[in-house]
């Protein structure tokens, strides 16, 4: 059971994304993505929408499979810009890693 915590969207806005809520979960990005055979961009978008922050951080490294080729953003029917969302998530995850490193030091 996942408890929805929609505040995560606002946190992500610091890292550049403000389009993630436009997504209506059609799955185009998932099926158009040239490299990842998984529900990749939408899974992350959906996790953002319901605020599943921990899951995103746990699978953070997978974000770097994204080539930023932009096909998902180009074909997104809602202009939710999945590529930009992924980039924002990369930034968020990097920031989290750095914070972790600082703590460890």
């Amino acid at each position: 059971m996942t408890l929805v915590t929609p505040d995560f969207v606002e946190e992500l806005q610091q890292y550049g994304d403000d389009t993630v809520l436009r997504c209506f979960n059609c799955g185009t990005c998932v099926a158009i993505c040239p490299l990842i055979n998984d529900s990749f961009p939408r899974r992350l978008i959906r996790y953002i929408q319901i605020g599943a922050r921990d899951r995103i951080l746990a699978g953070g490294r997978d974000l770097w499979q994204c080539l930023h080729c932009g096909l998902c953003s180009r074909t997104c029917p809602r202009q939710a810009d999945p590529a930009e969302v992924i980039l924002s998530l990369k930034r968020l995850v990097l920031a989290a890693w750095r914070e972790e490193d600082t703590k460890n030091v």
């Binding site: 059971m1 408890l3 915590t5 929609p6 809520l21 997504c23 209506f24 959906r46 319901i50």
Partner: protein, 620 residues
Amino acid sequence: MTASKHQRSDRVGVYICYCGGNISDHVDVEKVRADVEKIPGVAVARTNMFMCSDPGQELIIEDLRQGRIDRVVVASCAPSLHETTFRGAITRAGANPYIYEHANIREHVSWVLHGDRATAKAEKLVAAAVGKARLLEPLQPIRVEARRHVTVIGGGIAGLKAARVLADRGLEVVLIEKSPFLGGHVARLDRVAPHGEKAADLVAELARSVLEDEAITVLTRSQLVGFDGYVGNYDLRVRAVSDGDGEGQGTYVPFRGVSGGTPPELTIETGAIIMATGFRSYRPRRGEYGHGDHAEVVTLPEFIRRFSMAESADGTLVLDGRIIRSIAMIHCVGSRQIPGIHEEDAEGRLNEYCSRVCCSAVLHAACRIRERFPGTRVHDLYRDIRTYGRDQEELYQRASGAGVVFYRFSPEEPPRVTAAQEGAAGQDFPLRVTVRDGLTFGEEVEMGVDLVVLATGMEAAQVGDLVAMMKLPVGSDRFLQEVHPKLAPVESSVAGVFLAGTAQAPMTIGEACNGAAAAAVKAASLLGRGYLELDPFVAEVDPDLCQGTGDCVRACLAEGALEMVEENGHARARVVAARCLGCGACVAVCPTGAIDLKGWSLKQYEAMVDMIVADLAEST
């Protein structure tokens, strides 16, 4: 009954078309002419290159004027193309257009056959047409006086709209409304999806213009209790209902509507009736999504009313003094019910249809919440988002952009609304909503909420009394049923009774107004001249043959088109021409052949068959 009833004409004129080779290339037109000329009753048989041309038509006109003929048969192309042309020519010659019969020897002969067989078949078809033509009678369209007066039942938006446009067209209107107020459900809205007009403005303006119009009599707190007559000439009885208190006429009362006057008991003579009886909002069962069990579970109409008095606490919604941090809105409550999944109502019925307006209404409310109260979260739980209409998809987009979070559930596993458990994480909310979310890969997700709003659908209004009295058909969805969704979309099967707005099916305000105006235009067309001109093809009883069995009345497909009357102490069938549809269902069941269809009589068909088999008889 004309004197010539059982006589055959001996002066049939037959005109055979070459169609510029289309017929004559395959049919020996001159042979047909020569043979047809020998058929008893044929006075004249002519041919022409193009019967539809002016010279062709002149042949007919001239023969009629000269009195050579009194029945006409043209053998040419399909009747759909030129039947009206030749009837027109006959009219121009000063004769009755119904003395005409058409033989189709192009589409049914020359284009599908060649050689002698084509000629032989053409001859038979022409002969059959002659057989029928000899029995044709001059007919007159049936003229029925009609009152230029329409009664509109229901004072909601559709009823008001219908009354408004009919009065503008110059017809007299009576508007009957059960409640003390005009405006119906629209008056109970705040703003209207998707554009956000104020419902009060829409209703107030329309209702006042209706109340002020001298051509419209508004009867509020009134009910139809008597219905008699037929199309163009209905007699209605109206009685006052002692229901609720009114305000001064024309006063707008928020969430109730515009107050009408108090009615007398009266009788109305009217030409047509528009049913604008509206809908009823679905009432959730106790326990349905926690409704009735938790005070925080409300229906969308209830929410809209309370939301109109909303207050803000630092950008968070406050309703009735309670801070609302999070709202779940659930779609399809009382709509799209599925047998075996949803629970039937007390009468064993399900609302299997989509209520059409709820998706937009919910999204509009959600946008209003998020835009005015950014501190309040909105969770939207849906099955399909049906923002079908103009600017509705944009509303869905706007809701997404405004931060509404969507969840998709399947009817098999609807959301569950429960009281929050003590001490559970994130559970400082009174309620929690749990849903298996198709968008989150079928996972169960859960949210804490302060309020649950149920998007309740539309149900047919309870107009069983009217349905029974007026013998109106209802569909399996219990809404009033039109004759045909495309051929006769606002017509009920009772002639002169039309359907407008949500009496017929769930609709938006715009669609209801369109439906109302569409119903009004039918009423205006029907009554505009002050009389109705109906096709003469109706049943006709020969009282000498009628034995009064009543079989025809039982077989009749139109309510009240046939009735039994006493004539010189004998029961006899009588046709109410204004109600007869001309299908002939009665003809088949008459044991004595006393009833027949004018213009398409059984005797005429028998004559046609006789002509087709005539040579067989000769050979035996």
